[in-house]
Symmetry: C2
Subunit: 344 residues, 2 copies
DNA sequence: CTGACCACCGTAAACGTTTACGGTACTATG
DNA sequence: CATAGTACCGTAAACGTTTACGGTGGTCAG
C-alpha cells in the first residue's frame, strides 16, 4: 500500500476525499481536511508527480532554455544565472519547478527544442538567445505551448516578450558622446543574426543622423560576445588609419577584452578614447572605471516569470495586468571611460 | 484514441505488441517491428513520459545541481557550462535528459535537494559545490538515489566522485616556486567550508615542509571565489609589511581581480611577484600571461556522466570499468606570471 | 410528514504505459 | 500421429493520481 492509498487507509477514509482535501477542493469538511494535512506531513506523503501528470496532462515544470558556451549566450553566463534566480522566486510561489534546459553548442537549438516538446517535458518555456528569425516561436505556437522570450524577434506569433532597451541605450550613448564632441563613433554587435545587434546598430545610426552625422560602416564591429571578441575589436580598431574617437560596446563581457587590447597599445580609456558599455560583475574591476548601463537582472527574471504565468490558463487570473511585452530601460552608471572630450 | 492505442489500432495489432516492438524486446517478429517503427514515425508517435514513468518508476531525467551566483559556484559559471556540455553528450546516447537544477542563492541547498527528491524528479543526480561536510550525501544515500559528486568531501557514503587534483597542483606549484628561490609563498582558498580549500592549503603546507619551509598562517588568504575576491586579496597582500614574493591562486576567476589590484599599485606579475593560478577563458586576456593549470572541462563532464551511469543498475553493465573515484590532473601552462626569480 | 436542498464523502473510471501470463499456430522430434 | 518446443502475439493488471457522478444523512421550509 503506497501513496495516497496508504494515507487514506491510515485515516480510514477514501482516497477521493484525501485527494480533494490535499488539493484544496471546497467540498470537504474542514476538520477532515485538517486531519488529512496532518497525516500527510506525519507520514511524509508527497504526491507522485507521474501519476498526477498522467491524469492532468501537466508536468508542473517550467523550462528555461539557454545555450551552453559563452560564444552563444554572450552574457558571460552570470547574466542568466541572475535572471534565473528571479524567475525561480516567482515560480516557487506556485509550486512550479524551474529547470534549466541547456542546449549544447554542438546541437541545433531547434532540434533540441523539438525533443523537449515531444517529450512533453514542460508546461511552459522561457526562451533566450532569440534569433532575428526564430523558427522556435512558430513551432511552439503551433503546439500551443505557453512561452515567453527574453529578447524580441522579427518572428511574431503573438507571444509575450521582454527585452532590454537597446534602442534607448544607443540613443543615450550617442547623444552623450556627440555632446562631447565625438564625430567618429564606433559600435559593436554580435557576430550572428541575433536581433539585438540590429536594434542596437540601427538605432545608433538613427541617433547619429539626428545630429547630422552618419554611421561609417567601417565602424561597425562584429564580435564574439565574450572577452575574446572584445580583444579582437580592440586590435582591429587600433589597426585602423582613421580611428574612431569613441565606441559603444553592446555586450557585457567584451569590455574586459577590449580594455586589454587597448592597454597593450598604451591606449587609455577615457583619455585616448571614449567608451560606453554595459556594467557587469566583472566590469567593476576595470580601470579606468567603465561608463555603462545596468539593470536588475533579478527583477527582469521576475517579470519574465509573471509574463509567462499570465499566458498560462491555470495562472492567468493571478496576473491580470502583467505586461505582455515590455522593454526594460537600463540606468547609466557614469564612470571614467567616456571622459575623453574633443574640442568643438 | 491516443498514444500507443492509436498506433495499435492503425496497425491492427495489440498495444502490447506495439510496446514490445518499440522497446526492442526480442519476442516480436522483425517484420512487425519494422511496421511498428515505420508507423510510429509516420504518425509522429512519441511515448508519453508520464505513463512510462508511472509504470516503471523512473523518469529518464538526470539532474545536475548547481548553485546560482558566482559567489557560490566560484568558477565564473562558464566552468560548469563546459562540464555540462560533456555530461550531456554522454546521456544523450542513452536517451536520458539532462537538466540543470539551479539552487537559488537565497535557498538552502539541502532543502532544495529534498524538494527535488521528494518530487521524484530525477533518476540520478550530479552534485557540485560539495561542502567539506555535506549532508546531502547521506540524504541521497538513504533514499538510494544514484549520484556522483564533482568534488570530494569528508562525508563518505560510498558514492563515486571526481575531483581536480588540488594536491598535485599545490605540490607542483610549490616545488616550482621554491626552485626559483621563493621562501614566502602565499596561497588562497575559498572563504567557505568547501573541501578544495582544505586540500589545497594543506598540501601546500606539506609541500613547503618538504623543502624545510613553513606556511605562514598570515599568508593564507580567504577570498570570495570571483573577481572581487581576487581584488581583495591583492589589496590585503599589498598592505602587508612583509609581503610574500609569490602566490598560488586556487580559483579560476580570481586572477582577473588580483591582476587589477596589483596594477593599481604598479606591481607587475612576473617581475615583482610570482603567480601561479588556473587557466580560464578569461585568463587568456591577462597580461603578463598567467602561468596556470588547465584541463578539458568537457572530458571531465564525460567522466562524471559515466561514473554516474556505472552506479545505475539499468546502465551499469555498459560501464563496467568506469572509474568510481578519480582525481583529474591538470596541465601546467607556462606563462610569464611566475617568471619572478629570487637570488639564492 | 414530505420534499428539496445541502454538505460531505465513496466509487470507479480514466490518463498512457509496461509486462507477466497464457494462448495459438507452427515446426521438429520421436 | 502424438508430443514437445518455439515464435509470436493478445489480454489484462498495475503504476498513483484526479474527478465526474451518485449516494447518504441531515436540515429546513412548506
Amino acid at each position: 500500500m503506497t501513496g495516497i492509498r496508504r494515507l487514506a487507509q491510515h485515516l480510514d477514509i477514501s482516497i477521493g476525499t484525501v485527494s480533494r482535501a490535499l488539493n484544496g477542493r471546497p467540498d470537504v469538511n474542514e476538520e477532515t481536511r485538517r486531519r488529512v494535512l496532518q497525516a500527510a506531513t506525519e507520514l511524509g506523503y508527497v504526491p507522485n508527480q507521474s501519476g498526477r501528470s498522467l491524469r492532468q496532462g501537466t508536468t508542473n515544470i517550467i523550462g528555461f532554455m539557454m545555450q551552453t558556451g559563452t560564444e552563444i549566450t554572450g552574457q558571460g553566463d552570470t547574466f542568466f544565472m541572475s535572471v534565473f534566480d528571479g524567475i525561480q522566486t516567482v515560480f516557487a510561489r506556485h509550486r512550479l519547478d524551474l529547470v534549466a534546459l541547456l542546449c549544447s553548442s554542438s546541437e541545433d537549438p531547434d532540434d533540441y527544442l523539438k525533443r523537449v516538446v515531444a517529450r512533453g517535458f514542460a508546461d511552459g518555456l522561457i526562451l533566450s538567445a532569440t534569433q532575428r528569425h526564430d523558427p522556435r516561436f512558430e513551432f511552439l505556437a503551433k503546439r500551443k505551448i505557453p512561452f515567453v522570450t527574453l529578447g524580441r524577434s522579427l518572428t511574431d506569433v503573438g507571444q509575450p516578450w521582454l527585452d532590454l532597451d537597446f534602442e534607448g541605450m544607443a540613443q543615450i550613448s550617442i547623444d552623450r558622446l556627440v555632446a562631447r564632441g565625438h564625430r567618429r563613433i564606433a559600435v559593436t554587435r554580435p557576430h550572428d543574426d541575433v536581433n539585438l545587434g540590429h536594434l542596437f546598430v540601427d538605432q545608433s545610426a538613427r541617433a547619429l543622423a539626428g545630429h547630422g552625422l552618419a554611421l561609417d560602416p567601417e565602424l561597425i564591429f562584429s564580435s564574439l560576445p565574450n572577452e575574446a571578441g572584445g580583444y579582437q575589436v580592440a586590435r582591429q580598431l587600433l589597426a585602423m588609419t582613421d580611428r574612431p574617437t569613441a565606441i559603444l560596446l553592446v555586450n557585457e563581457t567584451i569590455a574586459i577584452g577590449f580594455y586589454r587590447g587597448l592597454s597593450e597599445a598604451g591606449v587609455k580609456p577615457g583619455r585616448d578614447i571614449a567608451i560606453i558599455g554595459r556594467q557587469s560583475p566583472q566590469s567593476h574591476f576595470l580601470s579606468p572605471s567603465l561608463t555603462g548601463f545596468t539593470l536588475s537582472r533579478r527583477d527582469l527574471g521576475i517579470a519574465l516569470a509573471e509574463a509567462l504565468l499570465a499566458t498560462m490558463p491555470a495562472f492567468s487570473h493571478l496576473y491580470p495586468d502583467a505586461d505582455p511585452r515590455k522593454v526594460w530601460s537600463e540606468d547609466l552608471i557614469e564612470g571614467e571611460s567616456d571622459a575623453h572630450t574633443l574640442p568643438a
